[in-house]
Symmetry: D2
Subunit: 360 residues, 4 copies
Amino acid sequence: MHIGILTGGGDCPGLNAVIRAVTLALINEGGARVTGIERGFLGLITRQVRPLDARAVEGILAQGGTLLGTHNRCDPFHYFGAGGADVSAQALAYARDELGLDGLVVIGGDGTMVIAHRFEQLGLPVVGVPKTIDNDLACTERTFGFDSAVAVVAEALDRLETTARSHGRVMIAETMGRYAGWIALEGGMAGGADVILLPEVPFDVDEVVRVCAAREAREGYTLVCIAEGAHARGQGLSVSATLADSPDPLRLGGVGPWLQHQLQPRLQSEVRTTLLGHVQRGGSPTPYDRVLATRFGYHAAQLVRQGRFGRMVTLRGEACDSVPLQAVAGQTRTVPADHPLLAAARGLGISLGEPALPPA
Amino acid sequence: MHIGILTGGGDCPGLNAVIRAVTLALINEGGARVTGIERGFLGLITRQVRPLDARAVEGILAQGGTLLGTHNRCDPFHYFGAGGADVSAQALAYARDELGLDGLVVIGGDGTMVIAHRFEQLGLPVVGVPKTIDNDLACTERTFGFDSAVAVVAEALDRLETTARSHGRVMIAETMGRYAGWIALEGGMAGGADVILLPEVPFDVDEVVRVCAAREAREGYTLVCIAEGAHARGQGLSVSATLADSPDPLRLGGVGPWLQHQLQPRLQSEVRTTLLGHVQRGGSPTPYDRVLATRFGYHAAQLVRQGRFGRMVTLRGEACDSVPLQAVAGQTRTVPADHPLLAAARGLGISLGEPALPPA
Amino acid sequence: MHIGILTGGGDCPGLNAVIRAVTLALINEGGARVTGIERGFLGLITRQVRPLDARAVEGILAQGGTLLGTHNRCDPFHYFGAGGADVSAQALAYARDELGLDGLVVIGGDGTMVIAHRFEQLGLPVVGVPKTIDNDLACTERTFGFDSAVAVVAEALDRLETTARSHGRVMIAETMGRYAGWIALEGGMAGGADVILLPEVPFDVDEVVRVCAAREAREGYTLVCIAEGAHARGQGLSVSATLADSPDPLRLGGVGPWLQHQLQPRLQSEVRTTLLGHVQRGGSPTPYDRVLATRFGYHAAQLVRQGRFGRMVTLRGEACDSVPLQAVAGQTRTVPADHPLLAAARGLGISLGEPALPPA
Amino acid sequence: MHIGILTGGGDCPGLNAVIRAVTLALINEGGARVTGIERGFLGLITRQVRPLDARAVEGILAQGGTLLGTHNRCDPFHYFGAGGADVSAQALAYARDELGLDGLVVIGGDGTMVIAHRFEQLGLPVVGVPKTIDNDLACTERTFGFDSAVAVVAEALDRLETTARSHGRVMIAETMGRYAGWIALEGGMAGGADVILLPEVPFDVDEVVRVCAAREAREGYTLVCIAEGAHARGQGLSVSATLADSPDPLRLGGVGPWLQHQLQPRLQSEVRTTLLGHVQRGGSPTPYDRVLATRFGYHAAQLVRQGRFGRMVTLRGEACDSVPLQAVAGQTRTVPADHPLLAAARGLGISLGEPALPPA
């Protein structure tokens, strides 16, 4: 048996742990030969591969990134390097006929799974391993990399808290999360944020001002954790009256700076913003993520050995399971309105920027 | 409503996060008055309490230990301070009549829950929050503090690995886990251990020697992660022939040093042992544990508000739930023989010290 | 003896360690009474003080920020709260006559030392402790907080490196350092940056492009560490021909984004920027900074006990010393052109953005 | 020019940073060819070497250990593999004649420098780079690895403090430092120890009991940081009357457990000991150590280029310098009695275990 592995999409702590687990398990339990495809699907086009064995994956468990490299935008069905042409047949021929792959383990997100599914339909057996730092893939409760991103956010809030407290400031930390607010929610809860703003819960600027002003008088400082995809009520497709004159968030460099621009004139404290940026997706995975990624990789190897292709590994509670590849396509797992962590936040007096209910 | 909180048993990262969440939620949502009992049940005997409010719990989320203090051995039903006499009536009178508590939130392990259950039966309504750094409490899949302990073990293994590799050594790290091997298992997997030895899987010294010798020849070094409660086949109540002459593990200062004593004469490499000790239970909780502890605390406050006393908070999959207090008594959740992480370890070629199967 | 302590200017890891050391040493060795002035010199105007004793400073050694609070802009000689009026006499009367202070320990930077010196001249004995996260104060080789900031930068570069390598990108990290490049220089060296750009060494955009392009072809990725005060040759007061049409760095949100804007069109790799921002000055001090801050605080207490007022603590090699307060005023200790770390960087092939010498 | 590099003695964070700096600087500035000798001087006997170039040292800056491997006990002048015979001529012939080395950069401690000096005298030009995690080498104020070890100790004390405080315990942490107490002193100061016991300052058990008892009554807990080489007055070569009946520290597994055995019967609190062990010398170097190691490596390369062999790199204040190789032989730089950090410790009320002065 000869199995290929590739990592697609943005990088994420834990990718190497998956590669290691898949490789070791396929070799130890399946007697397989394993080949790494470099730079995601691009390697199938540019013919960049490398053999993987126990020695090749030695010591990579704790390393961030992916030793195979990855590529954000490479889709063989619309190849940017050929003016958008479909070069999938060529990639397939290389993988199946030339390399002689009996199957492919694809580690990636939503978009990568769509491509993987199409290759599966063309006759290249595929097992998928979900990867999203945002934790927003359908069908799986957790994905590796997320805990590491949350840890970066929490540590940053720990640091910003000392500055906020010493100076009596409002500190805004903008996190990743364009469509789903998981990182801001868990990171904010873990870092002791006083205000947490998510894409799923449009916030009211007046309410954020009210919370900051109340804390200004009482505790003297406020920590705000805002997802990059959060938006004020009325801000977004349609623009509300109150926001019509305000600068566009994108022009200000993000919703964090935009919020600072809204808050500063209405507060006495200084307001400062930190964009956490790419540090959220780099670096060594947390021990939690190393274990989860290892389990995902081992489960993928089992699916391969059992010939259960066309499926993607998932986590349900404490157990690994799998779903058909196409089940995840085109869906984003956002924070549901009834998620217990939202209730916990509200219950602890952490503001989600929701307007207070009008008196009955 | 006037609610007391106490923390019992050994300390654990996340206790303060629970105290904070219970306090804030009871005040914000329940309009309750909250009182902290100091040093576990001892405070009910020595009458040491302090009021808890938003200010008192400000900034404690990320702090290790418990601001209320705790006590390992205080049982009012057999009070060490009174020659083992039962002083529970006095403690009850103080709590219920004098302080006027309508209920008590008790954060602790197995032993603490047994005491809590007895107070509940005497008429003091109790909600329990499970606490065990070893992750070995029945009825709940995860407990806070465990992730922090695993992180300490993994980081230590990361450090020991560089020394093992540079010197070509066998490095043994002994972790907590007298009856259950969760910490050694997850910590060892996260830290890249080559051999993981658990209380649940008696190990064969010959097999450990075989693995170390094979790695000596190939990779040049070996990382062993051993739970303090692990034991060799035959070692324990009955002593096998091969071990009869070997020194007692306890006399050598633990099973780690004992194993070193077994391995050293049979290997060329130097063998060294590190006892991770109390650093595993101290310090700031990981972000994961901060969120889990906050959720546990919030759920406990909800049970109090709903009048659902006599129950202990649990985690099932991603959801908090609860079970009757007595359900956890006297049980230890050890690593089951069919746990997927054991299979993953074996599949990746990590030795559990099990003897190789005899040829058919 | 009754001594006051205050912290002025921006916060910095280690302030609490100084406060603790000054307080404990004055009490233990000098039998002094110690009073903390809150929010820098502002507390002398708003009359906000608190007594400091062993209990008050217990456990603050490892905490970031300052438990006394600080204020960026409060100068009693030009008080912003009174339209710029001089309220120093009032502050002096409060400190000396009302509080009965025999001396004041002032922890702060250049600006704070100027104010401290003026109070000293008015008859309030002052000992200064240097504080600058940028390490750019005259007369002292190191200041506490700098090592912590360097550690944040290095850890961020460690994280960005995995992303840069996985994606084949140019990652730019913008650090603090408006006038002096110490943080970018040491942080960049510690984090393995390939290009380090400092205020003291104007960089040549063409040269940076050349380095990135060469690495694009060879290593595949580049890490750039740039101080916020770095600037291209010709950029700054006068604008060179090649830069005349480019957007203003400030309008783009800093020199990091500006550099990205310059590089992107001239490289094949994606270029991304991370602004490290306020996390550089928050959080727990590194052990190195805790020791240095403790030594500074102890030395300040000794100066007080010896009646050697009007002086600021300094570090020379491994020894604490002191200089007259006025010696530091108005000077910035920038990275000298002959600093050995610049030579080391060049020697290791790390680019400082200097144009290559023309062939003879 | 063809230069060899080897690392000798115990491993230490920063070795790889030195190897990288030496290699890059010799190649970039000297046009040299560089060869790594594996496992210390052993590689010169077993003929294990590898070429080093920019690619070989890519990404090793932040890695712990040494990619060349090391060996604790290999001395070619008394080779353990040849019954103590002198195989130096053979090693010399291999290095100079066969490999064609023009010089050797030797990174190691006291013992390694003695061997290096003998090779130098035999005609193999050597430049030494000092390495000691204990910071106890003569002629240099700081060595890389020490800051990393101090950071491990401080972090451990941070963790132990939460447990000590929560339980009201005396926690003893035993650190490295057989002859010199630098690690215990700086680590203890950085970690907030209440008692610091060093080899250089024999401690009085009664005094340690007195301090712990006083804290038991007041703060409720005590943190003790003790170097492995610390000893009680009278303990050691001669045994005092009061200690004559007590068990031997070595038999109890170190001076930490021995001290616990002394304290426990005389205190009400529980006393617990943690042996920090090998984690102190493993893992990624701190940013401080990465910069220092890089500077040492660069300076060594400069000495090579200048033909200044027979010298070892040193640090004086902020500047690198060098001394003759033989200057460091047989000396240990212990903490001098007048070191300012000892005075600072005493001044802050931290006990060094010295008996209180008798009343006049």
